[in-house]
Every structure is written in C-alpha cells, then in structure tokens.
Amino acid sequence: MLYGYAGHTLRIDLSDGNIEKHPLKQEWVDEFIGGRGFTAKILYDEIPPGTDPLGPDNRFVIAMGPLSGLFLPAAGKTHFAAKSPATGGYGDSNMGGHFGVTMKYAGYDVTILTGRAKEPSYIFIDNDTVEIRPAGHLWGKGSTAVEEILKKDLGQEFQILTIGEAGERMVNFACISHDFGRQAGRTGIGAVLGSKNIKAIAVRGTQDIPVFDPKGLLKKGKATYAACREKPGFKGWTPEGTAGITNWCNDVGALPTRNFATSHCDYADKINGKAILDELKITDKGCFSCPIPCGKYGLAKTKLGSKYVEGPEYETLALVGSNCELADIHAVAHVNWVCDELGLDTCSGGAVVSFALECYEKGLISQEQMGMDVKWGDLDSIVYILEKIAKREGIGDVLANGVKKAAEKIGNDSSKFAIHVKGLEWTGYESRNAPGMMLGYMTADVGAHHNRCWVLGSDVANAVGGDKDANVHDLISQGTDFKVLPKADHKNVVPLVLRSQHLRPAFDILGTCRLQYMEIGLETQYYEELYYHATGKKLDFDKDLLHLSEKIWHLNRMFNKREIPDFGRKYDYPPPRFYEEPIPSGPNKGHKVEFAVIEEMLDAYYAARGWNENGIPTKETLERFNLAVE
C-alpha cells in the first residue's frame, strides 16, 4: 500500500484519445516524493529532446504531493509543468485553491497530457470516468465565464481549471485559472494547454486517500493548526495578505516603477493593502484547509464597469500598478480582472505592457503600429494593449511572445530595457541594490521568478546594518525617512540564495503552501511528523528534503542545457538596464549592479553548486546526486 498518495497516474493522449490509468511509479515516489519533484523527473524523462513547447510532443503535467488533500494547514497546492514556451526550458507554476486536492480525491497524483485534441475540448474527470469532451461552446470565452458554465452544467462540486483567450492563442505568458481568481500564472503553461486544444479540465473526486496512521495524522494535524494559531505571524498575515508589503517595497526602493526605470513612486498609498481593504474588499478568501486566508475578494469600480475580482496580490500591484504607473486601486483591480478573464499572467502581463509603453514613448513602436495613442498610467491604454496581446492582433502579436522575443523583433536597443531572465519577465522586486535577490532571479531555473528565491529582507538588512562598518544607528534612527540606502554588500549572498532556493521547492514537493513556514514559522519537525503519519516513512527535512530540492535544481539545469541551444552562463545575466543605468530616484538613487559584481556572484554561485564556469553541473555533482543525465 502506498500511503499518502492516491496511487495512480492518469495518462491522456489527446491525439488518439487514448486514456490510461497506471499505478503511480514507485521510482518517482522513492526518489522525488511528489509535486515539483515529480514534474522535474517527468519532464526530463518523457519530453523528447528538442520538442516544440507548443507542439504535440510537449507534456502538460499536473502533480500533487503526499500531503496534498489531507486536513493539514494549507495542504492544497497543485503543481503544473511543461517545457516553457517563454524560455524554451523547464517551466512550472503552482496554485492553491481546490483543484489538485480534488484530482487526488479522484484517484490521481499525477496527470500527463500529450498530443493535441482534434477540436477544442475539455477533459471531464469524475473519479474513474475520464472523457475528452467537445468544448466548442466554451472556446473564446473568459476564464470566469467558463468556470460558471461548467459548474452549472456539471455540478458545483466539480473543480474547474480553464484557460482564457490568451491560452487559446498560445500567448507565451498565458496562465491557467481556477476557483474564480486563483492562477498558475508563470512560464506560459496556459499556452501549452491551449496548444493541446484543451480549454478546461473539470474534476470531481470522492475517494479516500490512504494514510499510514489516520489517528496519528488527525492528532498531529490538529496540533499543527494549534501551533499556527499561537505564532506571532498568525493574525497579522490575513488582513492585507501579500499586498501588505507594498509600502515597504516602496520605502526600501524595491518597487518596480515605469518598466523598472526606477524603484520608488509617490503614490504607493493609493495601491497598497490598506487601499484594498478601504476600497475593494468584500471578504477574505482562502485555499483548501488554509488557516491564514490571504486572498481578498472584492469589487473594482471604474469607468469600464464594475467587476468582482480576487486580488490584486502584491505582484499585480507592483507590475500592473507602479510599473505601468497606474495609481488607482480600482484601476489596478480592473486590469487584474481583465488579465484573469483573458488568461494572462499579471506579472508578465504588467511587465510586457510597461515594456510596450516605454517602446512607444521612445518612438520604437509608432502610433500607427500601436493603433492608439497609449499613455503611462492610463487604464484604457493598458487594457487596450492586453486585449491586443490576448487576441494577437497587430503589435499584440509581437508582444504576445514576451519582452525578450518582442525586443528582438523591435530592435533599436529595446533589449536593454526588456526586463527578463531566460525569457521570463522579472517580477515585483527591483534589485539593483539587492544583490541576493538579483542573484536569485538570475539563476532561477524557470527565469526571473520570485518564488524560486526571496531574500530581499536580508538584502535590506545587509544594506542598513549587516556591514559592521555601516553607521547602523544613524541609519535606522532615520526610520524610513532616509534619503539614500547604503550599497548592499554582495560578498556573502550565495549561501542565503542557496538556502532560499532549496527551502522553497521543499513545500512544492510536499504539496503545501510555504507561507505557514515562511511567515508563521511553523517548525520543520511538524512537516517531518505529518509526513510520517501520512506515508509511514521517516523524512529528515534538512538531510532528505533539502537534498532533494538541490537535486531538482541540478536536474532542471540539465533540462535547460539539453533543450536550449548554447545554454549556459549568458542565460543567467540580468537585463542591461540593471548594470548600465543607475536608479534615478528614490531610496536607492544612484545604485546599479556592476557587471563585474554579476560575474563575481555567478562564479561564487557556480562553485558552491558544483557547476562549471559556464554554469553546467559537473559530472561529479551529477554523480553525487545519483543523476544519470547528460
């Protein structure tokens, strides 16, 4: 008996309609445990080298972990992965909600889609009944509309995953949506689902998940909730959710503004967590079994109409708000809704729009090409560009490929302000004076994504007090009224980056949200004990789980080496704006990262990882992690 798992892999070949249910591979469980571990292994093993990310040979993988679906704090994460159309390398994204949990109740830990359906379709899963059904009536409709239709047709207990128009047209940053506002947004996995002609997946699951020690798990689960409630971070996290750090990012000069031209704005109070509470919020909204519901469901009212929307989260406030100079919380929330309906990642969506606005401002995109006189901070302009992208109309067809490829097409040095790594747009933390964060973005397997590594707090501490030579008390006595932050030291960031890069996959592997650990401080022993009661196996968080995290980093690096021609060090460089242009205003005015520092950090990082000077894992490193890959 495989405890903690539903026990099956669902394989669907969309080209010939073949549907097979297999026992979950013991090899995957033993070596990769679950979630992000499974997806790393499956993508490397099963995607033929050189596969077109939008071709039928790509795999769309859904994977849950051994703790997913159990009544433990925030055990509702679902992991999605495919070869990324944005980067050409390993791509994944995860989301909360209830979809993955229900897949597990239906009997499936892993689902692998291959091929391409002959017509627009959706996948119907009701425990053992799995069908590929026509979806012509859903094609062209928005994500929320599709979710409403399918729930009405099939039953409210069905959990729905959908793509919007952007996914149908294979926009490189198309997302997948669920639960009227939860997204797996990054790396263009919505485009992969669209390339397979799949509009939605509907699932109902009513089966048990066998666990090793039900009574012990129940007792420990209750104790874990109780421990969460006692932690200092428990009550403070829920009210504003992730939006609570907007002002802080602005105060420390990390809020991307005007396509990352600068890192500070004078209207953060208008687009922060308090603005959401005062202007938008109707209720909190949480994922499966979460004790700290960080989602905010509200009503955005603009001249374009009133829309119910979940969010905006901090990343949306940063990328759609300040980065596009949109200084009104209702307008930001409306754009959030537009992105959700069209099926666009708000991170990349905001970054691509801001890139387009700067190109237009500099005359690199003409008014004729744009089709409208677009302006920074203008709701109409931003919505117009996003709709052009989702429909791949005119300049939208160029922008739909993301800033890297769009800059290659537009030319004229636009690549200098195309803010991405490996083809994935940078998220909400301007990092010219945050060397750890910069290195984390640079070296992330999927491109510039904050969920791979987040050490901004330590970078700021480093700048204001980590250096013993800094006059700490003079600095902190100025509170947030300082003029310019000192330069953060880059010398010792590698261990922090590695620690963060290894911690984060641990929760993606288990199938839980990381916030209970990161914010509340739930001790790792809880995860070890919950894992034992669920699976019957001992797990040492540091020795076993973090070791597996590191193994996944090596494996995904090798996937990128195999799939991206000439992959290596140059793919880890940040955009030229960050090393050529000092920040012109705000708390980090005058700072940039020197290119020599970038090289120095990469040298130290590669050496610590056991990679060669081109950033490729050495033979010895691969052997040490029992990875037979080339």
């Binding site: 959710g241 750090i245 406030l317």
Partner: protein, 82 residues
C-alpha cells in the same frame, strides 16, 4: 513605565538569523510610557526598515504610534507577494 510583550514573526526572525544575530520569538521589555514604536525597535536593535507591519494587540499601527499601556506588540518582517 509600561510592559510590552514583543513578538517577532518568522519573516523577521529569519532575517536576523541570516545576519548572524538571531533573536527570540517572544520577549518582555519595559519602556517609558509614550515611547514610540520606532524608538522601541531602535532600542532593540531592530531596523524599522525591516518591519513593514506592526500590530498593537490586534490593531495595525504605524511606527510613530506612542505606546501608552501594557500591550502585545507583534512585529512582521517582509515577505514575498503572491
């Protein structure tokens, strides 16, 4: 004088661990009545720049808020957005 129970969230504690100067999750301190939150932080060697959110019992307050009575002061460090 008033007594404050100071509670630090994990996101703040982790920064101090990274800096090599770990702090306790909970401690009690005595301060002059009317001391601002900012001054409390400075006296505890906690940069106000590292504390985006402060709660006085269950109420969110600003760094400039004067502290008048015994209370629980919960300090939140920064954390990545979703």
């Amino acid at each position: 004088m008033i007594t404050l129970t100071l509670k630090l969230s994990e996101s703040l504690l982790s920064i101090f661990r990274d800096m090599g100067c770990p702090k306790q999750e909970t401690c009690r301190i005595r301060v002059e009545t009317g001391t601002s939150v900012r001054q409390v932080l400075i006296d505890q060697d906690i940069s106000p720049l590292l504390v985006p959110m402060v709660f006085l019992d269950n109420r969110k307050i600003s760094l400039g808020t004067p502290l008048e009575t015994d209370a629980v002061l919960t300090l939140h460090g920064p954390l990545a957005g979703g």
